[in-house]
Symmetry: D2
Subunit: 490 residues, 4 copies
């Protein structure tokens, strides 16, 4: 799908499941801040609205946070020069708004009894509201409005714990939900992945020193080599001398990695769980061609996210693949459409039909997912106005019928098109000659499984199936969109 | 080719022929400024460093100029609201530097004896230095350092002319070189294309009112329909009521449209001279496959400019097309590489190998052109380190051996790799298993000619052939890079 | 004395006891934010480096904080428009530096269990460091580095208290030191003055609604009438309907108002404790003339702070009063002196000799105090170079020999000129023909007392006498300048 | 008088004749830019809205221009570092508004046939509009809207002249009006004062190198010694080696220095024509006491400009001088008064009554001049509300009844209170018990003349007498305020 009305976000597509966050950490590296900036630049697709880096020289801590892209602030060597020290962690996130803006930009930092502590979080805690109220009742003062701050307060109160790692474990044992964390103390970088391993986190090496990143593309950009994925439930402590300690402090639960990372979130050149994201997407396109093939002249992707699946579809269907829609990557700040006359042009800000490839053609259009469906309507209309004879829409994922509570910003159930409409209703609404989604089992085949294991699904696929693997304490799917949401997550 | 060291330009590729400029104009439209901003946004690929819009309400003129992308400044409705009036022209340009920055951002504006006059210019005047000195000797005061300012001074001195159009014609009859101009007076928008028609300029209609743009993609974004290309040597006057007057005030010469617009400059979804740019590029890839086919496993484009030719190559060669290199479009300000350790990572800021598609493969790499060749070396190295077994580089244009003097910022002859090296020397320098360029006749076939007409070439191809169709008064190819360049062009 | 090297502060005189802070509050006023901005503008002399305003509409709270002068930020009606509501408090403070800048700008704000709470503080808590450590040991997380934050954490922990006023009292009973506080809750403005009443705080009325300000000039600017000084140890609650409740929750102690407010800090047009500051200063000048008269031609003030005392001196001595030194009030940002050649010109940035009034004259120079003495040296040198025949320096206060711990930023004991030198040593160092300070009893006479009551001094005069009325828990005078200062105060 | 409504200008008093401009130049000095910044800082009272400096290293020219105070921009050593070279000129000016802002900030710079040339101007050309139209008719292109630009165009056209000095003389021979100019060429600084010497210009020496400034306070701040005033009609060329050439290229006319410089414009510590400004103002106060003495308790100045005259008045009348009105010098940006409630407080932004010195007193209030009179009304009302028993207003100049055309921004005739009202009408309007102005002869006595020479007045006093010494080509006093004013002057 496509960003017809990009008012909410500079780069994010409004009708997409909005991105979550990206985290990065490095230790024992003289240019820790620069490498962190580059790592975050590679992870920019995971959050375009705010970025922060905290470093330490083993004594003092240095922090810089800003709204906007990594390159807007951290391409400046004078900014990087202020970030002294050989250990650094960083964070990119999607929109924070209003007065809360600066206080919520991560990494969060606090002076704890044992010294300075910074934390960067990708995911969402499902009992943060409840814990927050308990802490306030006991005299804790909250500064920001993110779920992540709960972890720091729990650490400050964990007075029986004798080390920072023990305090962190004590705090995390009280939270539920999804998290990949990277933390900074004065002499270590700590990584943690929640017991179900919902969000990704990988360990790499650069000149013998350990590096953590949300995805492998964050390692590639600095020339680091991938060592391994952090395991679900693993807590890892990186030391300046390159030593890495591994702990498994939590009760073991079944692994439930987010399957949507493969479909849309992750960069195609990343490997997640030793699988190439690009290859999975191409296989998705192939499965789609097998499940929902149709006679046509050309396969056209909705750029950029639909490209790998469209290539796979074209190869499986033995049809020509062409760039029938051209994406304008120059954006700057969001255009504000001042008049109705301009507003209806919205879709054109990012996409333009390549008429010569559409006119009089029977077109198979491949997109990754449908959320609200509003943008699909406009893309299809644009393709039709360019002269396409037939338009067949193929979606590279199953119908999205449930909101996410584990780190992805999705609309409430009633706003999800597939949650309230039949396939035929959707086809008519979008205005295509045919519409097909990938099946759930087709998706599992594309990621290399024989099929979905119903007793113990191999992935978190709650958005497609409603099967939520982790407890929902603060809010139920029914409350989503009705209850006033109190905390930002990441 | 690829931007390994993007220090000079935010988006521009340092080892590319740098882009020129884009122009846009509209009249009789209540949202003239907004539409101009959108038109320039669609033309952003023609110049990313500065942007300006001038409007008129028939009495006063309003101007806003800024460095950066269109969307950085003109997405703001308060800025647009200051640009009152129903006629507007705009301009995007590549880098201007130093103190001259603001004075050189176009459109230029002057109060002439007949009233306000604004001018936006794409191209390069080849006798501007000489004219400028004559004007200074006669008491004219220059404010900026662009060639375009010469035109305004010549108009101010054209005291025999009784109308603004006559003054403009009198001025243009004194200049040589390439130009597509859009000008604004208090009651008209004027477009002019030089007699050889080197640079593009198209006329469209929106709700009956005329629109001018460098390329058709500038019409598409606002929903305007293409009426026709402005002819070489044509001067066209657009009126508020939609009336269009056409003049041919110059002596006729043979048309010599810039062939490089098809190869690299124009957007693939534009039509130039009624030819689809995308289709020309795909045919170029097909010609290249026929001229220089080789056994391989996969065809990989250097994104984004190499993609259409790679698709064409893959189709003609019946090989799989895959995204083996992923481009990161998030840029922000240019990263300044502070240390050697970071500097060698430069290429990674924009491109990352998609290892799964390269490892153990025989790769055909398709790029649009080679200028200095420095970046090709790094892209190829990146592909090899990702595990490619063989790398065969195919260039979608003939060898670039001469600088341009008609509106494109190219390095001097001695810096052009192909100007000083044999094919085998280039192959070794870049480090590929084989290297091939498209032939000049292959290029002409791709644009639909049987072959290049040596007596009267159908296009300006001076960069490939050294055959300069327009007089070079201020500077010869040999002086380029030695003579201190006095004027910016666009 | 005079600011020869204004490097630390835009307006503050580096060789002065640096100013402390100013506070303002108003309730029941539709233009609460505008009036607060004006009140702070009138209190600008109490702090030029940062300013903040917090308002409430009875439900939400609105905050704006900035570095610089009140007028730099709050003259802008769009900023004021964001500060909704009919109750507001504000704060001006002297320099905060480094990364702590934004977090330390007051009013501080916190969401407490009973709702939002903002606090603005003039003074210094003398046991804040000790309390802070205890709170951290119990799991409180501190965000800023001001002593004021301790009060909020103590309130958050005061879980036995049932109202916000009870919580505030419970917190204040644990602190020692000097404070005039203005706090904001969703339905009240609260003012408190410490039991000894070291810092000023006055109550006024505007159209029947109560107003609080550090000095009466803060009332004058908005047209409010002075009702009375808040009493030492009084806590006062202002309600929207104009009602004012008064409490005396602390054990009574003897009143010890800061006598330096009369000498230098307060504005001359303010009344403190029903005494005109201007009149006190003129009487100081008169006492000085009686105690240390000398034959001369003219009395010259060091502007601006020496002017009232010089007028009094001239009247008592029956000598002409002339502006022999002209002060340049245009400042902008501090000039950074790049070279030695420029640096020695430093004194001239603010002061220029008025030669015609100095040349060949016997000059009595009147200044308010001597701290380090470095600037006196330069002022005197300037006056001598302008041709003065004799220079007699008269200081409108006793010798400053001790640092302040109650809200004024003074250097440590070893940096105070009078602490380590005899009168004759000082005279030689400064280079004057004669030097005299006001006596302590002369100072008490000027404020209307017969003399200083040694058993129970009527004022806090610790800087002159070493008699500190309030306990010094965190730091002794001997530790000042040696112990790393942990907290900012105001 | 006083700035009740400071909406137009940050520091300027709206009901004052607005200030003109200040100029500075230095050559042969390694820190030319820094010294120029300091000199302009000392001349800041002559223009607070914009500032510019141009320097040369003998080859290239460097320029920095900014809105705001000198210290806002030029206190920054990185800005100064960009201003390379040992020769510099600078300019401060009052408000420029709208889009013209940046183009009109002086010094103006142009590349002329003989090389770069910068010009800074204090004064006003009275035939600039006429000359400008002639130049436009002949093909000159104007960039700014100041009268000064005419001089540069005339120089560009002076093709018979062989040197830059000859070109400048040729240009100046065509203009009428008042000007003190400082110009910069690549190897000299040139100073010129118009034949009547309306505006001041002084020559000083620093370490043997020549310095030019509008007033002597501009010399004092950098430690330069006054050498002499530039004579009316003198053109002076300063060389790097310290050599000074003097020319008198114009026909001699009678000297007519602006007497208002003594009354209000110049700084009190400056000497103009070897007279101390402060001493003249004190004598004005003395003359005023003799001419218009009255029984009273205290003499109160309207600060700051009324202070020296009030001191003189008090001395002559043997009455106490007291600061009965306190001025707040902290300003920042202008406060915008959003509501009526706030607007009527306007006067309080800068002035507050010192009640103890006004209550129950018979007050003689001394101000320098009355322009519109609106602010006098408010000051007097403020003094009365503070309890003054009687208020007697004494004005330290004759009634202002005519606008200035020689460099001072005054309102048109119908807006000048004294132009349309009798003394008694004015007394009632302002609301004082008595009102008196200084007589014209009293003013001449204060500046050291026996009386005004009616045949050949010693000063330009057109604002008081209507006797305009220089031709008014572009506009007559009657046209002022009606004709659309085309050019800014300085």
């Amino acid at each position: 799908m496509v960003d017809f009305f990009p008012s909410a976000s500079r780069f994010g597509d409004a009708d997409k499941p909005r991105e979550e966050c990206g985290v990065f950490g490095i230790i024992g590296c003289e240019t820790a801040a620069s490498h962190t900036a580059l790592g975050l630049h590679a992870l920019q697709h995971r959050g375009q609205e705010a970025v922060g880096i905290v470093t330490t020289d083993g004594d003092r801590f240095f922090a810089e946070r800003a709204l906007g892209l990594v390159g807007d602030t951290f391409a400046d060597s004078t900014v990087l020069a202020r970030l002294k020290g050989s250990a650094a962690i960083g964070h990119v996130r999607y929109a924070t708004t209003g007065e809360t803006i600066l206080r919520n930009v991560q990494p969060l930092f606090a002076e704890l009894a044992f010294g300075g502590f910074a934390i960067a979080h990708n995911g969402n805690l499902t009992n943060a509201l409840k814990l927050r109220q308990q802490l306030i009742d006991n005299g804790s003062l909250f500064q920001a409005t993110t779920d992540t701050e709960v972890i720091i307060h729990l650490m400050a109160r964990a007075q029986n714990a004798s080390t920072v790692v023990e305090r962190l474990i004590a705090a995390l044992k009280q939270v539920t939900g999804a998290y990949s964390l990277i933390c900074l103390t004065k002499d270590s970088v700590i990584g943690v992945r929640d017991p179900a391993g919902v969000r990704p986190l990988v360990l790499g090496r650069l000149d013998g020193k350990p590096v953590l990143a949300s995805e492998t593309c964050g390692l590639d950009i600095i020339g680091a080599t991938l060592e391994r994925d952090i395991s679900p439930g693993e807590l890892i402590v990186l030391h300046t001398d390159g030593r890495v300690e591994s702990f498994f402090p939590f009760d073991a639960v079944a692994s439930r990695f987010c399957v949507f990372e493969y479909i849309y979130f992750a960069r195609p050149d990343s490997d997640l769980n030793e699988k190439s994201v690009y290859a999975v997407r191409r296989r998705i396109g192939m499965e789609l061609a097998h499940e929902a093939g149709i006679n046509a002249d050309v396969v056209i992707p909705v750029p950029d996210s639909g490209v790998p699946a469209a290539i796979g579809y074209a190869q499986a269907a033995n049809l020509p693949f062409e760039l029938g829609i051209i994406r304008n990557h120059y954006v700057g700040r969001t255009f504000i459409e001042p008049t109705d006359q301009i507003r209806h042009l919205g879709v054109k800000l990012k996409h333009n039909p390549n008429r010569a490839e559409l006119k009089d053609k029977r077109v198979i259009l491949v997109d990754d997912s449908i959320v609200r469906g509003t943008t699909s309507v406009k893309i299809v209309d644009m393709v039709r106005q360019a002269g396409a004879k037939e338009v067949h829409l193929r979606i590279a994922s199953p119908p999205t019928i449930n909101p996410c509570f584990y780190g992805i910003d999705t609309p409430s159930k009633e706003k999800l098109l597939a949650s309230n409409h039949t396939l035929e209703e959707m086809r008519k609404y979008i205005g295509v000659d045919s519409l097909a989604f990938l099946s759930v089992d087709g998706l599992y085949r594309a990621v290399g499984e024989a099929k979905r294991n119903k007793e113990m699904p191999q992935y978190c696929d709650a958005c497609f199936t409603g099967d939520y693997p982790l407890p929902l304490v603060d809010m139920t799917p029914e409350q989503k969109g009705k209850k006033r949401k109190a905390l930002l997550h990441c």
